[in-house]
């Protein structure tokens, strides 16, 4: 562009209104992150209640009813309101920065996804105050989820999850479009950082898996409210159909939770080993392979429903096969560390903790593929141990590694290392104390989802150990919160590139300017930023270039137009919140549903009549 029009940069709105109307992917990423951490505390407290109840035989802390609500909401919260939005937070903040874009493809749609997620999360949480939370498990097996003993609990669940699903589909479309159309010049797909790759794969998994569970959730809702017979065996329906629709989504979902963590570790380990990622393309293709194969294993959750020998054998085989691309990645990470000069800070510790714990969880997972053995493990604490090793030891440790890694980029300050190491070791020890004994408990026959166990069944000691471990773990998380707060207030200044890192987000300021880059970078290599800083000396070793000068990011380029703030996304999503709240209380609530529909239409209409970029006066 030749005309030197002045840059249109939205006036820095501050305060709550600024956050409510923001269309900046970085601010939205922060909103996702902070919200998810709050829900992490909620879900954690629910877990502590569960462990307190199970600490001793015949526990008295919770009633059976309260226990059902706790384990249902613990899982629902941790999966949908913690791990997924934490991943979305990182994707939001770093996908555009890593591919050299100024924002995501649809900034207002991005804000809409966040507000819809927040309202759906609140919707699920308020159920607790109006007659009890959902209590039929996060998988909501019919007919548990369709029986009408307590009037509205599972309505909250079905509608809340469906709304979260809409938010996720919308952001997946947004991220996929961003990756495919917004990359900086020279940033070919194979030059894209591995975290961006994994983000894109996750978006595809959500895109194709969520619609199937959406149908199932609608059917649950209609069975409860319209008298349909989808899952009513007495009326000719089939509850196993629900299990299929749920796990057709539920298993890809497992990879939705773990792939972002794998992406983070694939960024962290090369940086701190000061080596490129070993077999980079192999890591990417393994991720793609996991994405495809992740759709083909759902029925291994259903080995005990009587699928028949052909289907059981087929799904046992696909389940064994999917361990291959996962195993490949483990060796890639080990190969990256091998021979590198590993800098063992908190971020790297969490990444190595991730590998260690994920290998354990992965191996116990493969044991489920042998369907006769799985019949023994099914619905026992062995399964609980398995998926906490992959979801806590895997996903959460990966996310923490990412937080320690990117906190300086987001805030401009380093997270404290001393508290960070305490944080890591307490979480690591607490995690193993909590979940390792569950392998034993499960194989000894302790069933999941029972609120009490009798004395003298051989469960006493390991349950107590697990409960002690869970409090150690919680203390570790508490240290993290303290550390984050202290470092945010008065942490050591980080500078733009504290880790001497490899990807584009480190080439801009910390925190990045609202326009991300003063000049869109031209990419010429994988790990482009590294190659701008380092050349090769006579012995073939990496040597810092003398002529490297960081790009000045302080002056916005002329003619830059950034998306203006808009309140229509929050308005539209609030309308949907009103609609689903009304749908819980049929028929009178339908008034609220109608009003909500009007509000949503108003939001959408205003949105379409408003220009994305508006001049400021």
């Amino acid at each position: 562009m030749t005309s030197a029009t002045p840059a249109t940069i939205p006036a820095a709105r501050t305060g709550i209104w600024g956050w409510m109307t923001t269309t900046d992917h970085k601010k939205i990423g922060l909103l996702y992150g902070v919200t998810a951490i709050v829900f992490f505390v909620v879900g954690g407290v629910e877990a502590l209640f569960i462990r307190a109840q199970l600490a001793l035989p015949n526990g008295e802390v919770l009633s059976a009813d309260a226990y059902n609500q706790m384990f249902t909401m613990h899982a629902t919260t941790m999966v949908f309101l913690v791990v997924m939005p934490l991943a979305t937070a990182f994707i939001n903040y770093f996908l555009p920065l890593q591919i050299g874009a100024r924002d995501v493809a649809f900034p207002r749609l991005n804000a809409f996804s966040y507000w819809l997620f927040l309202f759906a999360g609140l919707f699920l949480t308020i159920s607790f105050f109006v007659g009890g939370s959902p209590d039929a498990g996060w998988f909501g097996y019919a007919p548990l989820s369709t029986q009408l003993d307590e009037v509205v609990r599972m309505d909250y669940w079905a509608l809340g999850l469906n709304t979260l699903g809409v938010a996720s589909i919308v952001s997946s479309v947004n991220f996929i479009t961003t990756t495919l159309t917004m990359r900086a010049p020279g940033m070919s797909l194979m030059r894209m950082p591995v975290f961006s790759w994994m983000s894109t794969i996750v978006s595809f998994l959500l895109l194709f898996s969520l619609p199937m569970v959406a149908v199932g959730l609608f059917q649950v809702y209609f069975d409860r409210n319209l008298g349909t017979l989808f899952f009513d065996a007495a009326g000719g329906g089939d509850p196993v159909l629900w299990q299929h629709l749920f796990w057709l989504f539920g298993h890809p979902e497992v990879y939705v939770l773990i792939l972002p963590a794998m992406g983070i570790v694939s960024e962290v380990l090369p940086t701190f080993s000061r080596k490129p990622l070993f077999g980079r393309n192999f890591v990417i293709f393994s991720g793609i392979a996991i994405g495809f194969m992740g759709f083909g294993v759902w029925a291994h959750h259903m080995f005990t429903t009587g699928l028949g020998p052909v289907a059981e054998a087929a799904f046992a085989l696909t389940t064994m096969f999917i361990a291959v691309p996962t195993g490949v990645k483990i060796f890639n990470w080990l190969g990256t560390i091998w021979g590198g000069r590993l800098q063992l800070n908190s971020s790297a510790l969490f990444a190595i903790g991730f590998i260690f714990l994920f290998v354990i969880g992965g191996l116990s997972g493969v044991t489920h593929s042998i369907s006769p053995a799985d019949s023994q493990q099914h619905d026992s604490y062995y399964v609980v141990a398995h998926f906490h090793y992959v979801l806590f030891g895997g996903a959460i440790f990966g996310v923490f590694s990412g937080i320690y890694y990117w906190f300086p980029k987001v805030t401009g300050r380093l997270l404290g290392e001393r508290l960070g190491k305490w944080n890591f070791w307490l979480m690591f020890i607490g995690m193993n104390l909590t979940f390792a004994p569950m392998h034993m408990l499960g194989l000894n026959g302790m069933p999941r989802r029972t609120y009490r166990y009798g004395e003298g069944l051989g469960f006493d000691m390991w349950n107590l150990v697990a409960t002690v471990g869970s409090f150690v773990l919680a203390f570790g998380v508490l240290l993290f919160l303290m550390n984050a707060w202290r470092s945010y207030r008065r942490g050591e200044a980080a500078g733009d590139d504290p880790w001497d890192a490899r990807t584009l987000e480190w080439s801009t300021t910390s925190p990045p300017p609202v326009y991300n880059f003063a000049h869109i970078p031209e990419v010429t290599a994988e790990d482009d930023f590294w190659h701008r800083k380092y050349g090769v000396d006579e012995q073939g070793r990496a040597a810092r270039r003398d002529d490297y000068v960081p790009v000045d990011q302080s002056t916005p380029p002329p003619g830059l137009h950034l998306p203006s703030p808009s309140y229509y996304p929050i308005l539209g999503s609030f309308g949907i919140f009103m609609m689903i709240t009304g749908l819980v209380y049929v028929p009178w609530g339908l008034l609220a549903t109608g009003a909500g529909a009007v509000v949503t239409l108003w939001g959408m209409f205003g949105w379409s009549m408003e220009d994305l970029v508006r001049e400021h006066h």
């Binding site: 898996s209 349909t228 000719g236 869109i520």
Partner: protein
């Protein structure tokens, strides 16, 4: 439907808004295929489970053929609206947009009539899994048509209100892709749910 891309007029590199939005809509339609796929599969599972209620004999094939034809023709008017927008013939575009919305409403009216008839003949959502899956599948399709009608009317309104932007034609194309998709879903439903069951 009028989400813009982060416009970056400064950069040497400029994502084509046409490609950006069409990528998004096709990705979204890929997702919708699985949504309707799940609904149709539920119907296939339950198509013979009619309990004590009526089965596929309640279908009135001549009537549904006519409403299928109406929806098919709305795809024609839609593509003509799009074609007019590429020629920047806004007047013609509005005419075809309104015609499409009208045909969509005729289809919806037909569906309301059909549902009422079935209920009179004793088939409701609660009669049998067949009834549940039939009404929920065709009901969700109808809801998609209704959303499409709102989008069409909204686009026509924006055009009447003089809110023309260089990318106006783009909006029509987006709405059109969605509308044609809803039409092909009905092509599948008409064959699988109606013709193959009688």
């Amino acid at each position: 439907m009028s989400e813009h891309t982060a416009v970056d007029t400064n950069a040497e590199h400029h994502a084509d808004p046409d490609v950006v939005r069409k990528t998004a809509i096709w990705v979204f339609l890929g997702s919708e295929v699985l949504f309707f796929g799940s609904l149709i599969s539920t119907f296939l599972l339950y198509r013979t489970r009619i309990g004590d209620g009526p089965g596929a004999e309640v279908f009135d094939i001549p009537f549904t053929s006519v409403s299928s034809f109406v929806l098919l023709m709305s795809s024609l008017t839609m593509v003509l609206a799009h074609h007019a927008s590429t020629r920047k013939d806004w007047r013609q575009m509005r005419v075809w947009l309104l015609a499409t919305a009208m045909l969509g409403m005729v289809f919806l009216a037909g569906q309301v009539y059909e549902f009422t008839e079935f209920v009179h003949e004793g088939l409701t959502v609660g009669t049998s899994p067949f009834g549940s899956s039939f009404f929920v599948l065709t009901g969700f399709h109808g809801a998609h048509v209704a959303v499409g009608v709102i989008l069409l009317l909204g686009t026509a309104f924006m055009s009447f209100a003089g809110r023309f932007r260089p990318d106006e034609g783009m909006n029509v194309e987006m709405v059109g892709l969605y509308w044609h998709f809803v039409d092909i879903v009905w092509i599948a439903i008409f064959t699988i749910v109606y013709l193959l069951q009688v």
